[in-house]
Symmetry: C2
Subunit: 360 residues, 2 copies
């Protein structure tokens, strides 16, 4: 891909607004020279920050608006007060109108999803978008979706999540045919919800070239990296994600307590400080910052609201990768293939002769 | 309570059978002298182990059977091959017939739940039993339920889970009025499932003396110990539990990797070895071994299948506490109180005069 990737940035989003977003974009530009930015937000706040970053300044255009979605706005409030006028909406709209290839926002998730749905709309054949998270595992990184875009899912939606997650995993992991598992409460056939079992049968029958369906996985398979893509509906996915984050914080706190308990442990900490730095890096949530909204007619990246410039640059990097490897085209192709297979199977089943032949 | 607590033990349950169960019971007896044991299983395997533990031998009666439920039996298989004859069934049945006050098994969870339901039956007003886990938090221990007994829950079942969990938390934590939260995907009113919102309204209106309802909690509140009791249906609860376990294993593995990476970190480890021992103890799953089946007409404790004697003794300890603090009576009282409040409210609503008065 020779053309520059153009990224629209909701400069007012997140707990820290432009003070994190602008340095984050500057960092992302150093990592990926040639990237172009559309910084949407209050010019009075953005300009002084941009003045300190000449390279970014040269690669950016500022689109001015003083309207910003607040972190605690409900989606309906955000739409009422910020539709068409807020930095979040205008950044999304830049993707819609083709002025940018993707949008990055650290603003509130509910508002970003609601505005993205209305402005960009969902892809053909996709009912509801999903949020895909990058989940650190002992083997590297897996894709877990949906982590909170919508509650509940029928079998078809779970199949679509698998297809979309595999397209993303192929880009993130560079794997031709990522392995996919359905999150369930047991690996035995008897267990789990009906829709998950049905989705498993559908994925097995479809036998898509873009993914390798491996059956059910359980909660402890997430950190183990058993599969490249873990599929679940948004309620369970959100609770799993937050439970893992909470457990990591909890263990980090235990570790700090025991290491500062006495002189011996403090001496040990001093000697092993390099090891602890490595551990901190491994557990650094900034390394996997950037949730990807899948199923929309446009690439939308959600950064953690509380992240710093390093984390924000990582979210921009995720957007850059998704665009340069053409995430949307991959998803569209695979969803169409799945639709065709299903239509063909339905048509074959409707022909009495064929049905008789295929039922020995 | 002056009478000895009598514990029925499924001696054949778990990955290691009597070789863990018998030393575990011996350890539990040293911790709680006066406990009586009914060891159900193959006498040929139990007797030699018991011969090494004279104190346990004097406090035990062996009930012989050679039939054992396998760890990978499906519940239906276990019932077909082990109803009335297996060590698991016979240990449960000892509670039913009053020969024991509670039963402990490290056998397979599905079979144990199925046999317990059939043999002991559910309490009045309780549709389905639940499994309550003790969840280590930065503040101590919380009770989380249901972690996998049944999938899905209506509002009434969630309310009952809160009442049963609070009764257990009162015993485990020694708190008069434990705080209770409903696991959800957001604390805002707009979010979450209808049945969870309805359960929240019911718990608030009931205003029970036995629990302090605190609203919705999220996945990261589990490790934080935000509330004493976290209520969720079994699918999400099981995935949250296994996700947390998996995350702990994952971080433990990271920690071992970085501490053995070079000489400095190894020296650091040597100095801080006391701190790492303290950390291991904090993260030791044996410390919270013993899931409690709630909602049955009898106390059933599930030990982890792969635990050792220390962990098994802990599960026996949990059973002992539940019996000596009369868990079942507490649950029955509080469920009845909740039923009475709801009936009274329904009756009041049915009286036109009262309804008019209460609707301003």
């Amino acid at each position: 891909m020779n053309e520059a990737v153009r990224i629209a940035i909701d400069a007012m989003g997140g707990d820290h607004g432009p003070s994190v977003v602008v340095p984050g974009a500057a960092l992302a530009l150093r990592e990926r020279p040639g990237t172009r930015f559309l910084l949407v937000g209050d010019e009075a706040q953005i300009a002084p920050l941009l003045a300190r970053e000449p390279a970014l300044s040269a690669a950016s255009e500022v689109v001015h608006t003083t309207v910003a979605v607040r972190m605690d706005d409900k989606p309906s409030q955000a739409l009422r007060s910020g539709r068409r006028t807020s930095s979040m909406w205008m950044a999304i709209d830049a993707v819609k109108t083709g002025r940018a290839d993707c949008v990055v926002s650290a603003g509130n998730t509910g508002a970003l999803m609601a505005m993205s749905k209305i402005c960009l709309r969902t892809m053909a054949h996709v009912d509801r978008p999903a949020i895909a998270a990058m989940w650190p595992t002992v083997k590297g990184v897996s894709i877990v979706l949906d982590v909170g875009a919508s509650i509940g899912a029928d079998a078809q939606h779970l199949v679509d999540l698998g297809i979309m997650g595999a397209a993303m995993a192929r880009i993130v992991r560079g794997i031709e045919r990522p392995s996919v598992g359905l999150l369930n409460v047991g690996v035995e056939e008897i267990k789990g919800l009906e829709e998950i079992k049905a989705a498993g049968r559908m994925l097995r029958e479809l036998a898509l070239p873009s993914l390798d369906y491996r059956g059910f996985v359980e909660g402890d398979d997430l950190g183990r990296g058993t599969v490249d893509v873990v599929v679940t509906e948004g309620f369970t996915g959100n609770i799993a994600l937050k439970t893992a984050e909470g457990t990591a914080v909890q263990i980090g706190r235990y570790l700090r307590e025991v290491m500062s308990a006495n002189l011996m442990s403090k001496v040990g900490y001093w000697f092993a400080r390099g090891a602890f730095a490595a551990l901190r890096e491994k557990m650094d949530p900034r390394g996997v910052n950037g949730g990807v909204f899948l199923g929309l007619d446009g690439v939308v990246i959600k950064s953690h609201g509380g992240t710093d410039a390093v984390g924000y640059a990582r979210a921009i990097g995720v957007g850059h990768e998704m665009v340069s490897h053409d995430l949307l085209a991959r998803i569209r192709d695979q969803l169409a293939l799945s639709q065709d297979s299903q239509s063909a199977a339905a048509a074959a089943a409707a022909l009495p002769g064929t049905a008789a032949v295929s039922a020995p």
